[in-house]
Symmetry: C2
Subunit: 244 residues, 2 copies
């Protein structure tokens, strides 16, 4: 009897949205995988899948991993943390089952896997047991300024990255002492971020970048308060203060 050599786990950053912004390494490891695992919402699809779709082969085995919820009612419930733990446990088991049969699994992650990427929750469950390679990706922090056409930082500028899901007080405390900044996870938090920027006197420097390099990309000055809600894949960019 021969033992099956387990497959390899690839945690692949696939970049911000444009399928061409995937690295050659993530592309190659995707081709060396038999299974492509991707997070998806109830509606199916998802950004990570859209990014790699042009790069898929017909014989790729697709493994959609459906989040219990990404926002709204379920996310605010007391059961949410346990729901998510169960979700990661269950889907990690599905990935492990493929790896155990000798298949390589590409777990694709929009942006970068270790920079707010949910890949890290599967990594924590699988990387010790299986041969694992993580590939960094182009983050929206770098992509937003490029889409905007303004450098984010230079020389001695510091850059502060702030999840807009923090409280208004916490965002203000951090933005007050920031040079350049990027706010992530904007969505419903847009009015809160706008209030803070106004109070600290930097509203007119700030830009909303929605769906950078994806279909429906938009760049809007934060002063435009006709926009009350941003898509979840939006960031707010405060480029460097000092001229380049």
């Amino acid at each position: 009897m021969t033992e099956t050599t387990p497959g390899k786990l690839y945690g692949l950053g696939v970049g911000p949205g444009d399928p061409e912004l995937i690295s050659m390494k993530s592309y190659r490891l995707l081709q060396e995988s038999q299974v492509v695992a991707y997070p998806t919402g109830r509606a199916g699809g998802g950004n990570a899948l859209s990014i790699v779709e042009p790069h898929l082969r017909e014989d790729h085995i697709m493994l959609p991993m459906m989040y219990p919820a990404t926002a709204g009612k379920v996310a605010d419930s007391p059961e949410y943390p346990q729901l998510m733990t169960d979700f990661y446990d269950d889907t990690a088991n599905e990935i492990a089952a493929h790896l155990d049969t000798g298949r390589n699994v590409a777990l694709i992650c929009q942006g970068d896997p270790f920079f707010y990427g949910s890949y890290m929750y599967w990594h924590a469950r699988l990387a010790e047991k299986y041969d694992t390679t993580v590939v960094p990706g182009i983050s929206s922090v770098m992509t937003g300024p490029v889409v905007l056409g303004k450098p984010l930082c230079h020389r001695t500028d510091t850059v502060t990255v702030i999840p807009a899901t923090l409280s208004e007080e916490e965002i203000e405390a951090r933005l007050k002492v920031a040079d350049s900044a990027v706010l992530m996870k904007l969505g419903r938090t847009l009015p809160k971020v706008r209030r803070v920027l106004k109070r600290i006197g930097r509203l007119d420097e700030a830009w909303l970048v929605e769906r950078a390099t994806m279909e429906g990309e938009r760049v809007i000055p934060m002063t435009d308060d006709s926009v009350e809600k941003a898509g979840y894949f939006s960031i707010c960019v405060l480029p460097c203060k000092t001229p380049v």
Copy 2:
């Protein structure tokens, strides 16, 4: 008489060091360029060039742009700002001369062009006059944690990126209020950064990542004070405090 259509300027992020971590888009635009412009030190070569070297064609026209200085005596002199202005002006003119003859110029930039990238100084001189495309790249901020094998940030963590060339007091003020952090441009500033980390009680969480994904890559705990000087392409990573 026919007028020559000017060539296009491509500001290409080519990633952290591994030639395979270039995006498919930067790779394509490199192939669509006749000229490859790259910053280099007095010794010649340079990281940006090493990254694209495997991707070059024999008929690529190489345009090395030699910095007057990158560190040490000249950088500290009062003439330095003017030397750099002249350097960017002169080399921008060389690029423009190629563009004017209809050649596309790929200006390659290690990491990302708008994230501490010197590309921005040429962009400021050329982008208004010439058709310009900037392509983001994988930054060392994302690569360091991947090499280290530890996620940088998740959930409501903030990330503070700090050039270690700031004063000890400024670094301390920013690190004190940071969750996750990355210090850039380490080099001779290593002992200073180590002192600050010790004072704020986070030395044992911090890692030095040298030459991530390049030849000579090293990962060293910041507690190891046998290392007194880091290479210029080193970063210090403080991964997320809360467990993933």
